[in-house]
Symmetry: C2
Subunit: 259 residues, 2 copies
């Protein structure tokens, strides 16, 4: 029978919840900032092939690919979930990641639509190369995770092989998302903050919009670092089943045995 | 007496060396690409307050803050070093990191000098915010590492407290360096690849320079991911001294006991 690692993990629970609170707060601050930036300075949101449709791109990428992704990634680390049947948490993890992926794909559609309607080239900048690779890797990661950890017919050997790859790729995708967001915000600010465009102040004079959007970038980085800190702390990991439990032939059987 | 963890670690040595080879090759490819980009397309390197001095900025940041930093970070993971006295490897780690920091600081000086000479504003873009924070964090990390792990008078309690922070901050600085490089390369290409500047092709038409510099960005990301993979694999970590060894009062005593 599965034994839960309460001895070492639970002792550090207060510190965990402090970091978790910081993670939740930074994520909410990112979402707030990206909405504020695009509603207050970029003309708001719409789905009409104009710049307002483009604005969905940063909003959805930050909300989905960074914040929802980060929240989903640290879910198993919440000590509250350790003493319980893993299956509902696994389903919630998969659902949060799927929602994150859907938001990211809609965020990509927003920008492709606007580019195609205005004859603007797609996928030429380094930002777009990193961004599209991130979403492609994420889609692959989700499908492999679903096949390996949720399908009842998935063999134990595959799950054992997949787990370290899933964990490493999970952190890597977050790192790529952060890099894509930073380069995207930086690029957007150079595009729109020019002295000769609608009498706006140039980026170099750091108008209020630039300070807010730069701060958004700093918040995204801080959020990414806190998520990676939570993920990398061995004391906060839900323990694997012991060797005797690895004879399970399917996830459902594992869940039955655990419950 | 310190015991070396040959049993589990050494078994995975061939896979480690494969990853290490990939890491070394990707790092060399990054250095090659950033030199090629700046010598072939950006007019080469000089220290004369012109665009050629600016070119030292990407060259030194990629070579120092990414590649040398990554090489220094994975040094302890080389199994060859495990059976030996740790002090020389610790000194080499500190020296590689110091060289990386010096290259990064000279890389910053290159761009500040050029900006100041031409009346260009400093530190307004998100790229510059992330970059300067990365170098500041790195300097703090090096100083704390030196004080905590190399000064003979450093108390054991400080070392124990510092180690997980040093490890987490080490990976975080690499993530920040990658984000800073990606946003910097992206920004530079938008600046210089415009249809109306010296008859050059715009970035959106993906001329050869854009393909090379985008590929440099992709190589930097790949290098970062391989370094993080090596760092995150528990089997490839040099084991800590056992509890009885933590009674050492200084690093030098630890080294003497080990040797």
């Amino acid at each position: 029978m599965f034994k839960f690692p309460e001895a070492s993990g639970m002792r550090s629970a207060p510190l965990f919840y402090l970091c978790y609170l910081l993670c939740v707060a930074l994520g909410l601050a990112c979402v707030l900032c990206v909405f504020l930036w695009n509603s207050r300075w970029r003309g708001g949101l719409a789905w009409d092939l104009t710049a307002q449709q483009f604005n969905w791109h940063p909003v959805l990428m930050v909300t989905g690919l960074v914040v929802m992704y980060g929240y989903g990634a640290v879910l198993y680390r919440v000590p509250l979930t350790w003493g319980q049947n893993k299956l509902p948490w696994k389903l919630l993890h998969a659902a949060m990641m799927l929602l994150s992926l859907i938001l990211a794909v809609v965020g990509l559609c927003a920008v492709f639509d606007v580019h195609n309607a205005h004859g603007t080239a797609n996928l030429y900048s380094l930002h777009s190369w990193i961004g599209i690779c991130t979403v492609a890797l994420f889609a692959m990661q989700w499908l492999l995770g679903f096949a390996g950890f949720l399908l009842p017919c998935s063999p134990v050997a595959l799950r054992k092989l997949l787990k370290p790859v899933h964990v490493w790729l999970g952190s890597s995708i977050l790192m790529l998302s952060v890099a894509a967001c930073i380069s995207g915000i930086n690029e957007k600010l150079f595009f729109v903050l020019k002295a000769d465009v609608n009498g706006s102040q140039p980026y170099s004079s750091l108008p209020a919009e630039a300070v807010l959007a730069n701060s958004l970038g700093a918040l995204i980085v801080a959020f990414g670092l806190v998520v990676l800190m939570i993920l990398s702390n061995g004391k906060w990991q839900r323990a694997d089943p012991g060797p005797e439990d690895l004879t399970y032939t399917s996830l459902l059987q594992e869940e039955n045995d655990e419950s």
